[in-house]
């Protein structure tokens, strides 16, 4: 049958891969959130967690390379699908409106490319700030480590950073509200009830995840980093 490469390039393959990479990234987000929540643990918990991650060495690089690949693949496909629509309909309609009903055309589904690009830019800033940002060093279990916790507590005192971060995460919910359901449809899972449940699950998943992510910066900001949930 078709070579694997040709299949990946087919219109079905492109959509399936958008779905697979999207779902993969969602799983990553769950892990990311669980890690973030250690900020509410003992004073050392967060730094121990990040130190553990960094001590994975080559394994960490492998995971990072995988994530980067998923993220870039997802982005490139998204941009390519968006560009293709211009090719498939060079002259637009004078008048165009959705018929409603079964349609999933919504602000969320129509703005996937824009929310996606904003998330992409955000990711770069986010990596520069935290992954590659300069930190103090602390002694942990007799070894030197980055004091990421202090950096996080410091960054989220900055209103611009805090609210910018919150805003992008709200866009994320938006992106996921179409993306989650869409991914399962792309993977061929859609029949009656299942699809409706998936849409509900999409909202629930997006909201729970993002509330978790947004809570941390807002909590730090509004308590000036002195909140009782954070141990010193």
């Amino acid at each position: 049958m078709p070579s694997f490469l040709k299949a990946l390039n087919s219109q079905v393959g492109r959509k399936v891969m958008t779905g697979i990479t999207g779902v993969g990234l969602m799983f990553f987000l769950i892990g990311h959130l669980l890690g973030n929540l250690t900020i509410f643990g003992s004073p050392e918990a967060f730094n121990i967690y990040t130190k553990k991650l960094e001590s994975l060495g080559p394994l960490l690089y492998l995971i990072e390379a995988g994530l980067a690949f998923f993220f870039l693949y997802h982005t490139i496909l998204g941009i390519s699908i968006w560009r293709n629509k211009k090719k498939a309909r060079p002259g637009g309609y004078k008048k165009y409106q959705s018929k409603g009903g079964a349609s999933h055309q919504s602000l969320a589904s129509k703005s996937m490319i824009y929310t996606g690009i904003i998330i992409f830019v955000f990711l770069i800033i986010h990596l520069i700030t935290f992954k590659f940002g300069a930190t103090e060093t602390v002694m942990l279990e007799g070894e030197q480590a980055r004091d990421l916790r202090a950096l996080v507590l410091d960054k989220f005192q900055n209103p611009l950073y805090t609210f910018g971060y919150t805003f992008v995460l709200l866009l994320f919910i938006f992106h996921l509200s179409h993306g989650f359901w869409s991914a399962f449809t792309s993977l061929g899972m859609k029949h009656g009830d299942f699809s409706k449940k998936m849409q509900m699950a999409a909202y629930a998943f997006g909201i729970i995840l993002m509330v978790g992510f947004i809570f941390i910066p807002l909590y730090i900001y509004f308590t000036g980093g002195q909140g009782s949930l954070i141990a010193y």
């Binding site: 049958m1 078709p2 694997f4 299949a7 087919s10 219109q11 079905v12 393959g13 492109r14 959509k15 399936v16 699908i81 293709n84 629509k85 090719k87 498939a88 309909r89 060079p90 002259g91 637009g92 309609y93 004078k94 008048k95 165009y96 409106q97 959705s98 018929k99 409603g100 009903g101 079964a102 349609s103 999933h104 055309q105 589904s109 129509k110 996937m112 179409h178 359901w181 869409s182 449809t185 792309s186 993977l187 061929g188 899972m189 859609k190 029949h191 009656g192 699809s195």
Partner: protein, 252 residues
């Protein structure tokens, strides 16, 4: 007594595939509410011809929602405002006196305009030629009960088979994708034992042809399902993907 209305029309005129198109406007005074949308266009054309002007070309055949020839985009919606209705079954009673109606052809690179509102949909024929058939020996009709078909599958296959190939799904899709049409045609045959034999080649070739013809990718907007005059569900698209994935990993 039936109501008469004044309707302000704005419709696409284009002399040929490569000509530049433009909008023409015309106000029709005595539109009867019982007219179908196409009858209203007939009246328009009669008036135009009486004034020695060229009529506006549009596609139709059965005028009862079964042939799939009509495919006007009316006020930005394929087949007009009503759900599960083809343009030919749309009645003017859905409009009110003084309404403005814009009529455009389906716009897609794969559906070039032949003239005015008539587009060339032979891209669909080529998708069918790529695999939308079953190869059987013709001759004396075989005994009807020799191939048992599960009732539920037969029902589903029939649902997909109701696609009339109008192309409204392409017209309405923000990406101009032909996935609903192609998905329906694949699922219709793949559900049946007669279609089983060629299912792998069918899905791969038809999906390839769709791209070849220059249709866009599907983004799961489901606008196609909303405009489809026979209510084909995007489950057809999900099934096409499932079948395609299976075909890739089957490797024969």
């Amino acid at each position: 007594m039936s109501k008469e209305m004044t309707i302000h029309l704005k419709y696409w005129k284009q002399d040929g595939p490569d000509a530049r198109g433009y909008f023409e406007e015309y106000t029709l005074d005595n539109v009867n509410e019982h007219m179908s949308f196409l009858e209203m266009l007939d009246v328009l054309n009669e008036e135009l011809m009486l004034k020695d002007k060229a009529p506006v070309e549009f596609d139709y055949d059965c005028r009862e929602g079964i042939c799939g020839s009509c495919n006007l985009v009316i006020n930005g919606q394929a087949h007009g405002p009503k759900e599960r209705v083809a343009a030919c079954q749309l009645h003017m009673r859905n409009y009110s006196d003084g309404d403005h109606i814009t009529i455009e052809p389906p716009r897609a690179a794969a559906f070039p305009v032949i003239k005015d509102l008539v587009v060339d949909r032979s891209a669909f024929d080529r998708i069918i030629e790529a695999g939308g058939y079953v190869s059987v020996k013709t001759g004396a009709a075989p005994e009807a009960n020799s191939i048992p078909v599960e009732q539920e599958k037969a029902n589903k296959a029939f649902d997909y088979a109701t696609c009339i190939g109008c192309g409204a799904c392409v017209a309405a899709c923000p990406n101009a994708s032909a996935s609903l049409f192609t998905g329906a045609k694949i699922a219709h045959l793949n559900k049946l034992p007669q279609g089983e034999v060629e299912r792998t080649n069918r899905v791969v070739n038809m999906v390839d042809q769709m791209k070849e013809e220059g249709f866009g990718d599907c983004s799961n907007y489901a606008e196609c399902e909303a405009v489809c005059p026979v209510g084909i569900s995007i489950t057809a698209i999900a099934e096409m993907r499932k079948d395609y994935i299976k075909a890739v990993f089957k490797g024969d």
